[in-house]
Amino acid sequence: MQLTDTEKAMRDGSGGEAVAAAMDLLIRYGEALGAERLVETDNVAGAFNASTPSVRKIAERGMDEVFSRLNLDSDRTVEIPRLAARTCQLITGIDDQNWALQGADPQMIEMQRASEAFVGQRGVNLMATCTPYQVGNVPTFGEHCAWMESSAVVYCNGALGGRTNVEGKESTGAAALTGRIPYWGYHLTRNRYGNRHIRVDVPVRSMLDWGLLGYFTGERVEENIPVLEGALAGVDLVTLKHFGAAAASSGGVEMYHIPGHTPEARSAEDAFGPNRAEEQHVYDAAARKQMYETLQSATDRKVDFIMLGCPHNSIEQVGRIAALLDGKRLHPDVALWVHTPRAIRTVAERSGYVARIEAAGGKVMSDTCPAISRRLPPGVRVIATDSAKQAHYLPAIAKVQGWFGSLDACIEAGLTGIWTGDF
């Protein structure tokens, strides 16, 4: 892999030990990929804090060691300087405010906070969300990024026209220190064109609709790049956020095109570029129903826990939940958690939404989510969620039954304690 003179100097120690270790990792990684060279990036999103029990032993030896071992794959502990690239923290393990409600150990929240102080001092913006684009990290068209989190990657590439691969803990650590990432995969225009076609024959407009379409899309195209056309409406940040997360969960979709609604797709022809659709898939009413059924992993209609906000909810979604719960009370046997970035919770408090949700018995949570933290209210056996991604992952992770449906169906279940669903 070719290196510029600056990159060679970094490898050889011009930026200090941590930068040298980072460049060493990037070189090994780039060569593993078969990349020609590195590309400059000033937009890194990763997981830099210490927030899980498995990290505790390392954290006791200091935060330089946590970063060195887990974010750089370095056996030797190096001193971590101020980061070179603009870097933000994605989802974390513990809700900084509601950790007790989550059942987290006070020592763990202390560890998370100590690690945040360490990385914050070095320039990590502590957004603590899987949706950095909802908190001001909005890549511009063509901007080279190095992001973890599959739902964020697919949003960056598809909805925004930014350029990132699915990076990992170690590669984002290295990118943050050097401002470099392998020039491979989605950084190259020629790798971004569509190669699968999805014809949408049944109307898609609501959050539920877009989640089901996303889940179908991922199942059919796996890691390929779909171009979707047909009865599509209601495209905006919220529906694309859900669509992409679903497609990244059932398959490994990292890029997609919706002609007229995503920047690299003025038309289907534009989206395909020099490619042809190697496969065609049709999404019809039968497929939709089948996806809905696939996402159910429950039999028991009595529900204990409603999980809303995966990926993290926008302010508008929180507002909608507040309006649906206004003046009502959740069933005493049901816990309802609404997840949103901590920054957005501020807006939700000011707009009166948090008060309305809490008056109904619900909680507004931030920083993490049950699938990542593995923490749910005690004794939960049956969950319901409006997120296709959460429905895909949480039941296996938390060993619970799971229902999936619209927000309205989830709120109904929250009020009655019984799941009736959407069909």
């Binding site: 989190e149 990657v153 803990k169």
Partner: protein, 144 residues
């Protein structure tokens, strides 16, 4: 195709250098990190996976590649820390997750083979991986 006595030579591209040998564990299904493996004992835990319950610790893992969350590399990194990493990784689909995972697991890894490794290697076969030379040598196990 390997026979009982003569090892088959397959060439490929080095992803992570080094040399390893051992018993193959083969699957045509991609493997997840988060929710897919137990990083403490190196076993597959994904309910619907054909290898569910089996451990790749010390095995020559032959699979298409990585699936699932961006924490993939971190999970396999943990298997090394816990001493239950595969002995080598032979895969067919190059992705950032897979490449980074191989690099941080620090075991010989190869891809871009000149033969179909899922035809040529079966679970239990003896495999020698020489990533530096870009070669693997497969000896068919008697039972296979």
């Amino acid at each position: 195709m390997p026979t009982l006595s003569t090892p088959t030579l397959i060439r490929g591209r080095r992803v992570v250098g080094g040399r390893a040998e051992g018993e193959a564990l083969v699957t045509t299904q991609t493997i997840s990190g988060w929710g897919g493996i137990n990083e403490r004992d190196g076993s597959i835990i994904e309910r619907r996976h054909e290898l569910v319950g089996q451990s790749f610790a010390g095995k020559i893992l032959v699979f298409p590649g990585a699936k699932g969350s961006s924490g993939w590399s971190a999970f396999f990194h943990m298997t090394r820390i816990n001493g239950v990493a595969p002995a080598a990784m032979l895969f067919t689909r190059t992705t950032t997750k897979m490449a980074l995972g191989a690099v941080v697991t620090r075991v010989p890894a190869m891809t871009d083979f000149d033969a179909d490794i899922f035809e040529s290697i079966r679970t239990g076969d003896h495999v020698v991986v020489d990533a530096e030379a870009g070669e693997i040598h497969v000896t068919r196990a008697r039972a296979n």
